[in-house]
Amino acid sequence: MTKKDKLQADLEGLVKKWKDKKGNLIMILHSIENIYGYVPRETSLKLSRLLNVPLARIYEVITFYNYFKLEPPGKHNVSICMGTACYLRNADSLIEEIEKILHIKEGQTTKDEMFHLDVVRCLGCCGLAPVMMIDEKVYGKVKKNEIVDILSKYVKEEE
């Protein structure tokens, strides 16, 4: 199956599952984001036809919510928590450190598409502040000088 066919099949499956439920758009977008890591423009276009909803309305929803992304994420997603507890325990210094190491700013992906950096609001483990999450793994009580080692583990894995 080509990539295009797969996309079509994925979408049709999703739409079939949700079509008869009221207020389905956000749930369908969640599923798309789960499959691709972002919402590609062509899926939105197709979705608009399948659901008979104007594209503008789909984009209106995507851009309103922080959770939906329009750009593909990096191979590894680095999230730094800036919830209150982490903020009080100097999470901003972690962000500075990562920005320095990876030469990217918040919301950007490195040139080699290896890391994407996000600043998030509360990962819900304030007891471990400051918290950093890489993909699904949570690092608690992170110190500034530990970051290089943690990141290089991921680089090594690739090699």
Partner: protein, 580 residues
């Protein structure tokens, strides 16, 4: 021998190294004692304690040992596991001032097992309601209990339910608000993950009471485990006949579905949440009409917070009067707080209403990190305010907190010490609200932005005294004119920090000084010539080559080149670098 489970957790660190060592130690000891079969060893992600060293919990006896060392492992296996004896000196002392009602089951039952929940007394309330009570009796019981919404505003739950019950409509909805967006709070997450059936039971009872046959769980997508467990609980309840048609043989039908939030703080607001479930942008609508009259898809709807719903089963099973026996005159029952910030033991605490802030922070939280002085307590997240330390002996309830200019909120409680700058804190919360403002109404969209600009101006050392008046004026306008709770309360952190810490603002404005050393533009780094041992570590680490000198002559910082990153301050082993 009876089957046992040992839970293992490193409460100091999320990193796995240390806990893996202990896991190996335990499994070796168990192997040597030939106990691998009956004893199960599990590394778990949260044991309910924090900063207490390596902690083990032994089930079914529920013995908790904390701060254990390598040498204790053998003793634990021999004396407690084999000999059924409790080792007193390792025992973790229970935080006695807590009172667990909502969190009673969390950590004690398997959240993925319906049987466990039933064995702990679950679904008894539902049976009682369906077999013995009419909807009006449930409302009556709620009224007696004095239960108020735990999501923030503290609206009496019985009134909400009664309004919706009185509406004549064939379609009504029950919504559980699990969009816990307040940074620094995670009570709802813990309940949904640790005891999902209790929330389910609360929702089914709510459905019966108002005459609804459909409910929605609205949960943050950032809580995948909570979503998974709630879905599992729904599936279990369906197959056990606790959801669906003719529940428990009655003529009551009810179904539940999960809808995911997508990262928008404003969706915690009732009308915005409804818009989001309908698949739209989460922008609020003016009230009235209230959701209990015209809510989801234009039908009467009640929206309750996770913690409120989790209170319902116990309240019904034990009776409203019993529930009301705990708490203060107008605030009944218990409240879960996420105690974080500069306290020694951060974590979730559940306390009876009416306990003082001091008891929560010092007796339960163990006091302030590094034994520094406490400056204030922040409650209610971005919609709340700060309470200075002179009011720490205030009993916690809805009225008292709002009198002090803060709110109960959903339950974030953050301790602030002398090294925190309140101007910076107000800026932090405001930035959050500016980011999260949906943009629909002008007071919130523009007011928040202007407040933030003034605060930035002050923290950069360009403030004028007139700015304080401007801050107050804009804050007041936002409170009065914003469309929804987010805008009305967004200025609370500014308002309350000015109310109690005007001097600190004035220091920033007049003396251009930030005592806490947080506002970068107002601090300077200096090397103390007597304390300096001329090691050169600061110069080596300085990223902007702002440190000049040599090992013979000593070192100085060039203020023109200094970018105030604080690296020199962090690396100096002799405390010779000073922040001013």
């Amino acid at each position: 021998m009876q089957k046992k489970i040992i839970y293992l957790r490193d409460t100091d660190s999320a990193q796995q190294d240390r806990i893996n060592d202990f896991y190996t130690l335990f499994s070796n000891e168990l192997r040597d004692a030939n106990l691998q079969e009956p004893v199960q060893l599990v590394k778990i992600a949260d044991i309910g304690l924090y900063e207490k060293g390596i902690t083990v919990k032994i089930l079914p006896e529920n013995i908790v040992y904390s701060g254990i060392k390598n040498t204790d492992v053998k003793r634990i296996v021999e004396e407690t596991i084999k000999g059924n004896k409790i080792i007193k000196e390792l025992l973790y002392e229970k935080k006695s001032k807590q009172m667990r009602a909502v969190l009673k089951n969390c950590g004690y039952i398997d959240p993925e097992s319906l049987e466990d929940y039933i064995a702990a007394g679950g679904y008894k309330a539902l049976i009682k309601v369906l077999l013995e009570m009419k909807p009006e009796n449930v409302v009556e019981e709620l009224k007696k209990s004095g239960l108020r919404g735990r999501g923030g505003a503290g609206y009496p739950t019985w009134m909400k339910w009664n309004f919706a019950r009185g509406m004549n409509s064939p379609e009504k909805y029950v919504i559980c608000n699990g969009d816990e967006g307040d940074p620094g709070a995670y009570m709802d997450r813990s309940v949904l993950e640790g005891d999902p059936h209790s929330v389910l039971e609360g929702m089914i009872i709510a459905g019966y009471t108002i005459g609804s046959s459909k409910g929605y769980f609205y949960i943050r997508a950032e809580y995948p485990l909570a979503v998974e467990r709630v879905q599992k609980a729904i599936d279990q309840a369906v197959s056990a006949g606790l959801l669906g048609n003719n529940i428990l043989g009655s003529n009551f039908n009810f179904e539940l579905e999960i809808r995911l939030g997508a990262g928008a703080f404003v969706c915690g607001e009732e009308t915005a949440l409804i818009a989001s479930i309908e698949g739209k942008r989460g922008t609020p609508h003016p009230r009235p009409p209230y959701p209990s009259v015209k809510g989801l898809w234009g039908k009467p709807t009640i929206i309750n917070n996770v913690e409120t719903l989790a209170n319902i089963p116990k309240l019904i099973a034990g009776g409203g009067a019993k529930f009301a026996s705990v708490g203060t005159e107008k605030s009944k029952g218990t409240k879960v707080f996420a105690l974080t910030g500069k306290v020694k033991n951060s974590g979730l605490v559940e306390v009876p209403m009416g306990i003082t802030l001091r008891e929560i922070i010092f007796d339960i939280g163990g006091g302030i990190l590094n034994n520094r002085a406490i400056k204030a307590v922040q409650t209610g997240g971005p919609s709340g305010g700060v309470i200075p330390q002179e009011f720490l002996d205030t009993p916690v309830d809805y009225e008292n907190l709002s009198k002090l200019g803060s709110i109960m909120g959903s339950g974030g409680m953050i301790a602030i010490d002398e090294t925190d700058c309140l101007v910076d804190l107000a800026k932090f919360y405001l930035k959050f609200c500016v980011d999260e403002s949906c943009g629909k109404c002008a007071p919130c969209r523009l007011g928040g932005y202007q407040l933030l600009r003034i605060l930035e101006k002050i923290s950069e050392g360009n403030g004028e005294l007139e700015d304080l008046n401007k801050l107050k004026k804009i804050s007041y306008a936002m409170q009065k004119a914003s469309l929804c709770g987010l805008g009305q309360s967004a200025s609370n952190p500014v308002f309350s920090t000015i109310r109690y810490f005007e001097d600190e603002y004035k220091k920033h404005i007049v003396e251009k000084k930030c005592q806490a050393g947080k506002c970068k533009a107002l601090i300077y780094f200096k090397i103390h010539p007597q304390k300096c041992k001329k090691c050169g570590l600061c110069m080596k680490n300085c990223p902007s080559s702002a440190i000049l000198g040599s090992r013979e002559a000593g070192y100085v910082i060039d203020p023109q080149k200094c970018i105030k990153c604080g690296v020199c301050f962090d690396v100096c082993k002799f405390k010779a670098v000073m922040k001013e």
